[in-house]
């Protein structure tokens, strides 16, 4: 394995938020956004940071990119100390933050790229050439010379992505880059990021979409409630659960089925996804499905359920996350804003 290009050592970050409840005095509340996070990301690696909304992904990215100063711990990026050599760290990274709106609407796309190129200290002749390259690479020519105010949301996002490439930095940090993109644009972006990685860039890619992480990343760090709970390649993480099988059952289930199944010895977790017309889908993680399936069916039918479809599933990163945290990736943990976690579809 090559040397680490990013090193995070025991980084913690606590936000203080103010809580206002009707009829009560304003209270301060400390929220641990990062708890003693340590992580190495290697040169030329495609590293995914996977976790639900509010897990601490963006906070970690903001600490790495010098936007936030951590409460404790040390970080190095491209050989530079993040706390002491901020300018060099910034020059080493091309970054697109989640829902990047950082564009001047009264400037054209090209003027925006030129502007940020200057802020990245890219000399003017090099910058002009680089902008042309990006226009070609990302197929921006149809709209790049219009003011940004006339762009569609997808065009703005792709321009924000182009902005992150303007300095051709060795490290590219992308924080949920496809979250507001339509499907074709997201697919195009993933393909370009994949190519950039093949050209030798180190990519740090945060997402809560497990298919993105599985498709793109060589290694994945799973983050939840500010803690890195597992790191490894998608294959390694899934292999760590080989003793577990995943089974999907679709049908109509009475309310007590889920609790009864969870109580069944050998069942590790049950996640409920609501379908239409009263139908639901249960995703069950269990030991040895060949042995467990008859018991699961018996328990389900015994409770008056109607089973319409049963399908054994490959273990996914979502299952890994579910097994490690007991919750799904669709959850919004609302770390920073202090709200209660609410699973999007049941929970295991």
């Amino acid at each position: 394995m090559p040397s680490p290009i990013i090193r995070v050592e025991h980084v913690s970050k606590t936000f203080i938020s103010k809580e206002r409840k009707k009829g009560e005095k304003k209270k301060k509340k400390a929220v641990d956004a990062l708890k003693d996070v340590s992580l190495d990301i290697y040169d030329g690696e495609f590293f995914g940071l996977l976790g639900p909304n509010g897990a601490g992904k963006t906070t970690l990215i903001k600490c790495l990119t010098t936007l936030l100063i951590p409460g404790s711990g040390n970080m190095w990026v491209n050989g530079f100390d993040v706390l002491k050599e901020e300018d060099k760290v910034r020059a080493s990274i091309g970054c697109m933050l989640m829902g990047d709106r950082g564009l001047y609407w009264k400037l054209t796309g090209r003027e925006n790229l030129n502007y940020f190129g200057a802020l990245y200290h890219v000399p003017k002749p090099v910058r002009t050439k680089r902008v042309d390259e990006l226009v070609q690479l990302l197929e921006l020519s149809d709209f790049v010379d219009r003011t940004v105010e006339t762009f569609s949301s997808g065009q703005k996002m792709i321009l924000a992505f182009a902005k992150s490439l303007i300095n051709d930095a060795p490290i590219l940090v992308l924080d949920e880059p496809t979250v507001t993109m339509d499907v074709p644009t997201a697919r195009k972006l993933r393909s370009i990021v994949h190519d950039l990685h093949r050209q030798g860039k180190t990519i740090v890619y945060t997402t809560h979409l497990m298919h993105e992480a599985e498709e793109l990343c060589q290694r994945v760090g799973i983050i939840d409630r500010g803690e890195i709970i597992a790191v490894g390649s998608p294959a390694e993480l899934k292999a760590s659960m080989r003793r577990e099988d995943a089974v999907d059952i679709e049908g109509i289930f009475p309310a007590n089925v889920v609790e009864d199944l969870r109580a069944l010895a050998g069942v590790h977790s049950v996640m409920v996804k609501a379908e239409d017309a009263g139908r639901s889908k249960l995703s069950i993680l269990c030991e040895n499905s060949r042995v467990m399936l008859p018991r699961i069916i018996e328990k389900t039918i015994g409770n008056g359920a109607t089973i319409e479809y049963i399908k054994p599933q490959e273990v996914t990163l979502e299952d890994v996350f579910l097994a490690k945290t007991g919750r799904t990736l669709g959850i919004d943990t609302r770390q920073v804003f202090g709200g209660e976690a609410k699973p999007s579809g049941g929970g295991g």
Partner: protein, 295 residues
């Protein structure tokens, strides 16, 4: 740990100057794309000056100019009506410069926060000093342009000649007043960066500044303590210096021109450094808390 260079970035003084120039040009392009904005902005000081002129005429009738001259205790001038009108017009124009500088520099941070460009800027290695230098240069150019358009149009509208008195000295006061304004702008910017929801404070501050500057009256009208507080405020010195030089009347503190001028130079040395340092400190404190981009 491995290091793979810093991409296409070539840091250095040329790159810093490039940042300054690019920020300035981008700002000029943006404002040029709001059609008619500058002309409308230039009309504001004329309207500001028209209020007291019309009010004065309504109260004092044809003798408004003479009354104003007598009450403000200024030196005798050949044309009392012109004196009265030019006094108001210069005050309104200088106030526009002051408020534009404070607004453009101070509120710049807030605007960038709202548009989401502040975080993008903080992700880049450009030093804040050169970005701010680009913004302040833009603020300087825009406010000077507005000052001269407003003064020209206002002089035509009110039938006065602004090219009287010591023009060079007036320009000197204006130039000396700009650096302290930058400093105040930085302080103001840091304050807005911290408290964020600053609209009401910005609105109120404009009127407090107008009040303290004495745009329509000499600050000697204030009670003694307030008089000295107002007179120690760099925009007041700038306003008084410009007005006194053009109208050929007495300067602040009952002194020669060199006293307020020297004080302005003193403020020019101290306030920008103080303001910039305060801005950096605030920025650092915010990075330890929720970050600069949160609003």
């Amino acid at each position: 740990m491995v290091s793979r260079g810093i991409g296409l970035s070539v840091p250095g003084f040329r790159a810093d100057l490039d940042v300054l120039a690019t920020v300035l040009i981008a700002r000029l392009k943006i404002i040029s794309r709001y059609r008619g904005f500058l002309v409308m902005e230039a009309l504001l000081p004329i309207i500001f000056a028209a209020f007291p002129l019309l009010l004065g005429t309504a109260i004092g009738g044809p003798n408004a100019g003479a009354n104003f001259l007598r009450n403000t205790g200024q030196a005798s001038v050949p044309d009392v009506t012109s004196y009265y009108r030019l006094y108001m017009l210069l005050g309104a124009c200088t106030f526009t410069v002051v408020t534009l500088m404070m607004w453009l520099i101070g509120y710049w941070v807030r605007r960038e926060q709202e548009t989401g460009t502040l975080e993008s800027m903080y992700l880049a290695p450009a030093k804040r000093f050169y970005v701010l230098a680009g913004v302040t240069t833009y603020a300087f150019l825009r406010s000077m342009l507005i000052f001269f358009i407003a003064l020209t149009l206002g002089s035509l509208a009110f039938g006065v000649n602004p090219l009287s008195g010591n023009i060079l000295l007036a320009l000197g006061f204006m130039a000396a007043g700009f650096l302290p304004l930058w400093g105040i702008g930085f302080l103001f910017g840091a304050f807005i960066l911290k408290i964020k929801e600053a609209n009401s404070i910005v609105q109120m501050m404009q009127w407090v500044v107008a009040f303290l500057m004495g745009i329509y009256y000499p600050v000697t009208f204030f009670p003694p303590l307030m008089q000295y507080a107002a007179a120690s405020f760099p925009p007041t010195m700038m306003n008084d210096g410009v007005r006194s030089s053009v109208l050929g009347v007495g300067y602040l503190f009952g002194s020669g021109w060199w006293v307020p001028f020297a004080l302005l130079i003193g403020f020019s040395l101290v306030l920008p450094l103080l303001g910039y340092q305060f801005f950096l400190d605030t920025e650092r404190r915010l990075k330890r808390k929720e970050g600069v981009g949160q609003y």
